[in-house]
Structure formats: C-alpha cells, structure tokens
C-alpha cells in the first residue's frame, strides 16, 4: 500500500473523505489517549475552575451562583492587592536576575576548561533535585538562630550584624528571590549555552579582523544572535515563576504579615485551608491573563522565527 501523503492525493476529495483516510485514522488513533487524558484532567477542570469561581462554594457545600462577586470582592481586598504586588515583584526580580546571571554563566561555560562536563553537571544540580527538599535546606540555612548564611557572611566580614532573613518583610522577599534564582538559574544558563554553541565561530573571526573585540563582540554578535533563545526562556520562566508555589509555601508560607504572599499560596490558603473554594478558584484564575499574554507572545515569536 503506497502511503497516501501529499496534498495532491487528497486534492479533489471531500472533507469527510479525508477524515476516513487510513493515514488520518492512524493519526486519530495515535493521539486519542493524549486527547482523552488532557480533556478529562485539564480542559474539564479548567471549565470547572471558571464555574466554581462564579459560586460561593465552601468546603462540603455546593454553593450557589454569585456572578462576579468573588472577583469584585478580591479587587477590593487589601490583602489580595498586596498579593498581586508581591507576585509582580517576585516574578520581575527573579526573571531579571536569572537572565542576567544566566548570560554570564553561559558565557563562562562556553569557554575551554578542564572537566567541563563535570562542571556543567554540577551546576545543573539545583534544578534536578526535588525543590521542596532543597528549599527545606534553605529554610534551615536561613534559620533565625542557626543561620549558616549569617555565619558565613559574618565570618567573611560582609555584614556586621545578623540578617533576619525570614523574620522581616523586606528580607523575606529577598530570601524567596534568592532561592528562586538559585533553583532556576541552571535552566537559563544551559539554554543560553545551547544558543551560544550555535553561533558560528567565523563571525567572531571576522569581527576580530575588523578590530572588534571583547564587549563590542558581545553587543554586536552574541546578544543579537542569542536573543531568540533569551526571549523563549524568559517567557517560559515568567509564567512558571508567576504561578510558583513551593518555594514560598515552604520558606515563608506567605509571611511575615503576608509580605511574600503570591497568587498560588494565597489561593491554597483561601481554598484548602480556610475552605472558601469559590474565592480560592477566583484567585487562581487571576493567573490566567498572565498565561494568555505569555502564550500569545510566544506563538507570535515562534511563528516569526
């Protein structure tokens, strides 16, 4: 049986005819398990999330339709406004740090050095190990009495007084930003490294003969050619950081006095701890516009490439 591919093969046939072609049937058969699972456990829950957010459901009771009340109430709520602010601070500062440090680290890793693979592997470790367990280690490192971070900083003489890492609103935000950067940096660095490796060496040689060196090469060759990878990685990371949960949940649980409360931790507290499921769903859904923006930008970007 010749494979019936190519637009010519199905040129004159009707839509229904194309649907039952053997190739199409095989295609539907192959994607059916994925489609089934994703419909039942992704698309349906999403519709359900929208529905629940329009009700005043609490734990154990179905609740009734209340329209946009949950959303309107949240927009008035100072705690929620702080959560929105915190989420932006958290996302923008960590993505910026990861991008900046990621470029520097990728440039370092792209040079010749002994044990290169070992070094690359070691640097990936924070990204591989279960986040909840490594964040527990950070919690211990930031302990108010026994903080080894303070021990190191005091020992080297960078600070003269202990920093109240998790006990102070400002430092708590700094702490979660540090830990998120620590965890996400390897992904940025390795992706950028992959991008760097595709830049042809001849470009640098040509620049060299034209007398362009060092920083000039970086700004005119490296950065423009790395830009597509940077854009994709930044978009990916933005949505994941915006929706992040475990780092904040384990390190500060949103505290002190909600200084590090972000969307996902607040949704968890409201829906599953306080039992106000309708309101909690509404908080989660505020992640959706961010997701939508990222998807649109990403598709536009990938299409242009």
């Amino acid at each position: 049986m010749p494979p019936s591919t190519g637009p010519g093969a199905s040129g004159g046939s009707s839509y229904a005819h194309r649907l039952v072609r053997p190739e199409a049937l095989t295609g539907y058969f192959l994607i059916s398990p994925a489609v089934f699972l994703m419909t039942v456990l992704l698309a349906y829950p999403f519709v359900l999330a929208v529905w629940i957010s329009l009700t005043n459901r609490v734990l154990g009771e179905p609740g009734r339709f209340v329209g946009l009340e949950n959303f309107l109430k949240l927009l008035q709520d100072p705690l929620f406004r702080q959560t929105v602010w915190n989420s932006f601070v958290y996302t923008i500062s960590t993505v910026f740090l990861k991008m900046l440090l990621g470029i520097i680290l990728a440039l370092l890793l792209n040079q010749e050095m002994p044990c290169r693979n070992l070094v690359r592997g070691a640097l990936l470790l924070p990204w591989i190990v279960p986040t909840s367990l490594s964040v527990l280690t950070w919690l211990w490192m930031f302990d108010s009495l026994f903080s080894v971070v303070n021990y190191l900083l005091l020992g080297v003489g960078i600070i003269s007084r202990k920093i109240p890492w998790l006990g102070d609103p400002f430092w708590a935000m700094v702490s979660v930003v540090i830990v998120n950067t620590w965890r996400g940096l390897p992904f940025f660095a390795i992706s950028f490294l992959a991008g760097l490796m595709t830049i042809p060496k001849e470009l640098y040689e040509a620049a060299e003969t034209d007398g362009a060196r060092g920083m000039r090469q970086f700004w005119s060759i490296t950065l423009p050619l790395l830009q597509p990878v940077i854009a994709v990685v930044v978009l990916f990371s933005t949505i994941w950081t915006f929706a992040d949960f475990q780092i904040v949940y384990i390190l500060t649980h949103g505290g002190p006095i909600n200084a590090t409360q972000i969307f996902a931790t607040m949704a968890y507290d409201v829906a599953l701890v306080a039992g106000r499921i309708g309101e909690g769903s509404a908080i989660s859904l505020f992640l959706f516009p961010a997701l939508l923006v990222v998807i649109v930008l990403m598709l536009r970007y990938l299409r242009r490439e």
């Binding site: 190739e23 992704l42 629940i52 591989i128 279960p130 367990l133 211990w140 390897p186 989660s284």
Partner: protein, 282 residues
C-alpha cells in the same frame, strides 16, 4: 614569561574566579544538607564549633528516621508513581509525537497547538477543581490520584520533545519498510523508535524527575501519611507543630535527593545534550 603570567591572570579573573563563585552558590546548600545529616543533635546546634565541618560523624539521624517514620514507604511511593507515570506518558507521548511529526490529518495542527499550550499551563491554575475531579473518581488520598494526574503535564512535554527527535530522522527508511508490507504502526515501532532512543531516554528520565519532584498535586490530593511521596512527606510529616528536627529533616532530604542525582549522573551526557537540543528547538 610576563605574557604567560598575564594570560593566566586573565583566565583567573575572567573564568576561574567567577565560575568558582557560581559553583559555590549552586552547591553549598547540598554540602550543608549533607553535613547536617551526619551530625548528632548536640553538635548540630552548637554554635561554638566550626560549623562547616563534621567533628563526630554519626548515622543517628538516619537511624531515628528509619525507626520512627514511614520513610521507606514514602521512597517507595515516589519511585512507584514516578516510574509508572513516566512509562505511561512516554508511551502516549511517543504515539502523539509520531502522529504530529509524520502524519497529516485534519485537526493535527490544532492538537499540536493544544499540547503546546497545555505544556505552559501551570499546575497551580487548576489544582482546586482537579481536587474535586479526583474526589469524584474515588481517588482522593491515594497515590493513584497522582498516577492519573501527572501524565497531564508529562504527555505534552514528552510529545514536544519527541516531535523534534522524530522529525530529525529521515523518512526514507520507514517508507521503504512500508513498501515492503510493514504497517504504519509497525514502521513506527521497528524503524523510527530505535533511532530516536536518545530522545526517548531523555524524555523518560526527565518525566521521572518531574514526577519525583512534583509538589502541588501531591500536597492537595493526599493527606494520609502512608500514601505520601517524598517531596510532600518530608516537609509535612517531619515538621511537627513548630518543632523542626533539622538533623532528621536534612537526612530525609538527602535520601529524597540522591535517587534523582544518581539517575542523572548516569545519563548526564543524554541529559545535557537533550536539554540543549530541546532549547534549540524550543
């Protein structure tokens, strides 16, 4: 001579020192995790000793852990869920990835777009309604709730990784096989799959790691001690009230981290090349 020294200095400032700083930042928490788990409590909480070293190494924290908690059970749960979900997701991902890479059918593009979008959907967006779906399926408080839900984020990942791998394999060979009477599925299993082994290993390993590390669903769906996985059991079961038993916590964290670290050290070559390939295609 002077020139050689200058070059060495440049290399030191331009490469080795900053790289050492990055390595210290990346690895110190693991060092701290490891040394904390081999110290007895009196030493762990003694601020007068040099805290960066172990003075009297002991396995006491591990003994306590095995004697008092269900840690073996949690490790087994993590292993069971991760292995099973990666096999499931891998199989469905191979099927869907092959269909998208090779076959033309109405709706293929829409499906490709849908998997891409679901790959981006964060678990925290739908964990609340998913909890009630899981409950209605009768799976609350059981590791089966995780076996069922983890493929939702693993399949899109595997599918996207494998599309790229399948596309890089020339079409001629499977077409020859099909002319010789092999079916489409037969050609996929016998010809294309063996050639995509690096991609398959990378995706399977990565799925295993993602499952092993997953936190939000496991925290939401399961409250029964014996059904928890490592990533959730350690922070929820070992912190009792306000009391933090740091020695035990670090010992348990070490036990939960070592399996993925070992897995990954065996397959590091695949891993780094898979990641870089993925980034290029992404």
């Amino acid at each position: 001579m002077l020139r050689k020294r200058f070059r060495l200095l440049r290399r030191l400032v331009g490469l080795y020192l900053p790289l050492a700083a990055f390595l210290f930042f990346a690895l110190f928490p693991f060092y701290w995790m490891a040394i904390s788990s081999f110290k007895a409590n009196p030493e762990l909480y003694n601020l007068r000793l040099n805290r960066l070293w172990i003075h009297q190494p002991t396995l006491e924290q591990f003994r306590e852990l095995f004697a008092k908690t269900a840690i073996l059970r949690w490790l087994w749960n993590s292993f069971f869920v991760s292995a099973l979900t990666s096999v499931i997701s891998m199989s469905f991902g191979i099927m869907a990835g092959y269909a998208l890479a090779r076959l033309r059918f109405p709706g293929a593009q829409a499906f490709g777009l849908a998997t891409f979008i679901t790959y981006l959907v964060p678990t925290t967006l739908i964990f609340i309604p998913l909890a009630s779906v899981v409950q209605r399926l009768g799976l609350s408080n059981s590791i089966w709730s995780l076996v069922v839900t983890y493929p939702t984020f693993l399949i899109p990942f595997c599918t996207w990784m494998l599309i790229a791998y399948f596309k890089s394999i020339p079409k001629d060979m499977e077409e020859c096989a099909m002319i010789d009477g092999c079916s489409r599925i037969g050609a996929m299993v016998r010809i294309v799959l063996p050639m995509a082994i690096p991609g398959v290993i990378f995706s399977a390993m990565f799925s295993f790691t993602l499952s092993w590390n997953e936190f939000v669903y496991a925290l939401t769906f399961i409250s029964d001690t014996t059904q928890k996985t490592m990533s959730v059991a350690v922070p929820t079961e070992l912190i009792r009230g306000d009391a933090y038993f740091w020695g035990e916590l670090m010992a348990a964290s070490l036990l939960g981290s070592v399996p993925v670290a070992i897995l990954y050290s065996f397959f590091m070559e695949y891993f780094v090349s898979g990641l870089t390939a993925g980034a290029l295609k992404g």
